[in-house]
Each structure stands twice: as structure tokens, then as C-alpha cells.
């Protein structure tokens, strides 16, 4: 699967002024890519991620999935795209408090209308992210790193082609950050396209391509010295 972001701009009105959160961004992602977009808070990187996920609509430009514009999708088609083609790991805690770890992971499987043994697949993914022993626990009993792993497993339950993560290592200690990034790297090596936005330079050790984002403008970097 190829995702092409073509000249995407997202504008917001701030009082009388127009503010460009994303400014003419173009980017192509393919299977096996592990891309990091690094930038300060408010640089527009999360907005870009959400445009790719179809969670917000760009003011101009296009997002093409295998040549098809997601902007033309109906709500049902967009839900199908998010459910089956895309795994999204939101910023912060995103698990559902009233479901066990296992149920959190297998929820997208059922929301997509799939039939079959979701529990076995969810358990395999929990083993893959190293927290299978927590399957019966509720999110309130988990650490930040464990919650992030639940979110990763959940994003993978429907075997999507693309995984995107918004600040996947925020609030994590150095050790856990390294573990989560290594996990995302192994996922990309398995053939999925992984896109993360972060301000953690540690991510650069794991990615295949890196971009910086400043005031909504995306620039590819060979090597990032300092943000």
C-alpha cells in the first residue's frame, strides 16, 4: 500500500487571521517505511497525522491511498479505511477504562464487523508486545509503557498496512521509550509502513526516514542535529 500526501494545507482561523497548521506538505509512504516527523509542539505534526488518518479534512491538497483520494470517502468508507488499512495510536492514554486489556485489543476487530477468534489474535499481539500476562487487567492497573503497548497491539489487530502514532514515547522513561521504538521498528520490518510524530530524538536511531516540521512546513532531513 502506498500513501501519498500531495500538497496538503490545513488552515485555521485565529480571530481575523488565518493560521496554517500544515503548509503545502507532500510525503509518500510505502510498506517497510519507518518515518519520523520531528517538531516542536504546535508545529503541525499531529494535524498532519490526523489528516492522513482522515480524522480532519485538509483545506487544500489531497491524501491518496493507492491512488484513491480519501477525501472522497463516505463516512462508511472512511471508517472502513481507519478500521482495516490504518492502525492509529493516539497521543496519551487511549484505552477504554471499562474493558480489560484483552478486550481493548480485540475491540477494533469486532467494530470492523469481522467474524472469528479475536481473542487468540489479540493474545498473540499482546505476546508480541510483551504484555500477554496483563490480558485480564484493566487499564487503571497498567503503567504508561504498558498502556502504550496495549494501544500498539490494538492498532495491529486488524492487520493494517499503515501504522501511525502520535507521540508514542511521550511520558515514557528512557528504557520504555527504547522498547516501544524497537517494537515499532520491528513492525515496519515486518512490511508495514510506520509513521510517528515525536519530539524525541531517540526515535531517529530506529527510523528509515526523518522529517522536521516547522510552522507547518515539512522538510526531509538526512540527519537531524538538534530540534
Amino acid at each position: 500500500m502506498t500513501i501519498a500526501v500531495a500538497g496538503v494545507t490545513k488552515e485555521y482561523k485565529r480571530g481575523d487571521r488565518i493560521f496554517k497548521a500544515v503548509d503545502g506538505v507532500s510525503l509518500i509512504m510505502e510498506s517497510g517505511d519507518f518515518i519520523a516527523v520531528i517538531g516542536k509542539s504546535g508545529s503541525g505534526k499531529s494535524t498532519l497525522l490526523n489528516i492522513i488518518a482522515g480524522l480532519t479534512v485538509p483545506t487544500s491538497g489531497n491524501v491518496l491511498v493507492d491512488g484513491e483520494s480519501i477525501l472522497t470517502y463516505s463516512d462508511s468508507a472512511m471508517s472502513d479505511y481507519r478500521s482495516n488499512s490504518l492502525g492509529y495510536i493516539p497521543q496519551g492514554q487511549s484505552t477504554l477504562a471499562d474493558l480489560t486489556v484483552l478486550d481493548n485489543v480485540r475491540l477494533p476487530f469486532h467494530l470492523s464487523g469481522r467474524k472469528g477468534d479475536s481473542a487468540s489474535r489479540a493474545l498473540t499481539l499482546l505476546e508480541q508486545v510483551g504484555i500477554a500476562d496483563l490480558k485480564g487487567n484493566y487499564p487503571k492497573h497498567l503503567s504508561g509503557g504498558e498502556l502504550k503497548r496495549v494501544a500498539i497491539a490494538r492498532a495491529l489487530i486488524n492487520d493494517p498496512d499503515i501504522l501511525i502514532a502520535d507521540e508514542p514515547t511521550s511520558d515514557l522513561d528512557k528504557q520504555t521509550t527504547a522498547e516501544v521504538l524497537a517494537l515499532l521498528q520491528s513492525i515496519s520490518k515486518d512490511g508495514k509502513a510506520v509513521l510517528i510524530v515525536t519530539h524525541d530524538l531517540a526515535a531517529l536511531e530506529y527510523t528509515t526516514r526523518n522529517f522536521t516540521m516547522v510552522s507547518g512546513v515539512l522538510t526531509q532531513q538526512a540527519k537531524i542535529q538538534m530540534i
Binding site: 480524522l55 472502513d80 481507519r82 496519551g92 477504554l96 474493558l99 478486550d103 481473542a119 487468540s120 493474545l123
Partner: protein, 406 residues
Amino acid sequence: MSDKPLSITRLSLYNLRGKAFRTGALIAVVLVLAFALFSGAVLSASLQNGLNSLKERLGADIAVVPLGYENSYQGIILSGEPVRFYFDRALEQQISKVDGVEQLTSQFYLSTLSADCCSVPVQIIGIDPETDFVTKPWISEVYREELKDRQAIVGADIAAGKDNKLTFYNHEFSVAARLEKTSTGMDNSVFVNIRAVKALAESAKKQGLGTNASVQEADLENSISSVLIKTERGYDTDQVVTNIRREVDGISMVKSKSIFSGFSENLGIIKAFIGIYSAALWILALLILAILFSAIISSRKKEFSVLRIMGTTRVKLVRAVLTEAMLVSIVGSLAGVSLAAVVIFPFSAYIGEQLGLPFLLPDIGGIFVYMISTLVLSSASGPLSAIYAAVKISRAETYITLREGE
């Protein structure tokens, strides 16, 4: 390891179970609504039934009683208060000739006031089977034959012995049939043949058993307690009353419509109050629930955003919210209706007594209809009040709600 499909309903159940206090508060609102709607409807219907029953049982348009005994007569009809009053039977003949009188029958009242003479203190009403047009229609619902001298038809609240017999002034009567509950004085009355009750009164008089001056002094053979009149078609009741008053002295008259017109008026006010109160409460409950659901949904923005991210369609999201609202409403409705039933049904007699109005519960079919209507109305209140907030959250841009929810 559970592999039950995580349907929208199951997800809603987990959510409700996980937020016990919030769920309890929502259920409590619906419970109060269902309680008020069901109890209001049953109360209103019971009062209407009581009035209908009273109208049905009155049968006659005018009751002629001895001078000054109109309240006593009303006491028999409304509360079954035991009374005894008599006047000359010859008056029946006089009244029958009055212009506007189509049909008439006489009754003879004897009461048993003390337990030493009789098995239960009751009002005994002697009816004349040959002329009776008042009690026959409803007695015939339970007993079609002519009452024999030692037979009695008893009101719903009269307790007969194990052998189905009642003893009045040392005379034994077998219970031929029991009338249905009417919530009027008839429930505490015993109907016997007028010959039998006169013989009973005569015997009691001779034995000096628990009889008062009115019995002691009366020429029982030639006495009656009341003359019940059906007016001729085309005649106004007031006009017939005036005609009787002109022809007959020493009597009082009670118009049936005057007995229940007061009740009708009171009932109208009570029913209107119950109706307005129920409607106001329903609207209030809808508003409270709408505010609660709006606040709850607003506090769960991130959760709903995550559901959207996972591929939940707008329609499914609305369904999830409405399912939760519906589940809460169903539980609240069932609890409210059950609580109302527990309060109203065992205490219906007490409620009727306190209201001072005839109070007759609807039959099972009627109660079932009120129950279903209440369940439908109160169960709909949750989804109805949640729909605006549900649609609003489903239409919001997920990225915005995700950020707002953080």
C-alpha cells in the same frame, strides 16, 4: 479467555457497569419518572373506575328516604355505614302515582352493629325481587336465580365463615354469591330477600337483640327504608323531585346525580392535576436526562474519538450512545413500575380512604396496558433525551473532539 463478540450492546453494558454511580443516577431519574407515570395513571383510572362503579350501582335516579335521612342513605352507598331508618310502605303507592315516575322499588335496611348478635357487623339490604331494577343488573352478573329466604348475596369485603354461612340475629344465611369489588358501600353490604330481612328484624325485635329504637318502634311488616325511582324518559329529575315533594310529605330525596356530581367535579380536578403533573414530570425528566447525557457525553469525548479512530461509523456511535440510554431507561422503568406496584396495589384501600373518593383498581388487562404504556414512555425518555448529544458528538470532527477530550 472470553471471546464473546464485543457488540455495541455489550460495550454499552461494560460502560454502564464500569460507571456504577453515574448509571445509578440515570436509573434513579427514570425510576422516579416511571413511578410517577404509572402510579398517576393507575390512580387516575382507579378513581374513574370508582366513579363508574358508583354510577352503575346507584341505578335509580332518585332515592326517597324518611325525612332527614338523606346523609344516612349516602353513607350506605358510599361507605357502607350501617344504618336503619324506616317509613310507611304506603308511601310507595303514593309515589308510584306521581307524574314522571316510570319505575320504582323499595328496599329495607337492617344493620348489625354489635358482634354479639352477628358474625360480622354489616349493612343488610332487603330487596324486592319482584320490582327490583336497581340491584338486579349487577347481582345477575354473579347470581341469576331469585334469592331464597335464607340466601344472601354478599359484597366483596364481607367475610363469610368456612361453611360459607353468615349468622344475623341467630338466623343463618348461606352465601349464594359474592359480588365483585366496587369500592362503594356495596362492598360491605349483604343483599337478601326483603321478606327475609323483615322476618329477621321482627325476630330480633322480639328477642331484643341489638336493635335500636327505630326497629323497636317500627311496624316492620308495613315499613320500608327507601323507595328507589327511575324517572320517565323526557322528564327532568328535578322536575320529578318537585312533583313528589308536592304529593308526598315527610320524606327526603337524594338525586343520584347529586351524589356523584361532586365526585365527578373532584375527580376531574384530580385527573387534570395528575395529567399535568405527569406531563410536566416527563418533560422535566427529559430535560434532566438531556443535561446529564450531554455532560456525560462531553466528558467522554476522548473515548468516542478513540471509537471513531478504530473505525466506528457515525451511525454506530449514535447507536452506542442510544443503547446505553435505552438500557438505563429500561432498568429505571422496570424498577419504577415495580416500586409503584408495590406501593399502590397493597395500599389501594388506604389510598381510596385517604382520598375520600370511590377507588377501584383497574382489572389486570387495564393494569397491563398502563404498565406497558409507562414502560414504553419512560424507556423512550433516555434515548429521546440523549439523541441530540449523540448526533452532535458523532458529527463532530474527530481530531477536534480527540484534542478536547485530552
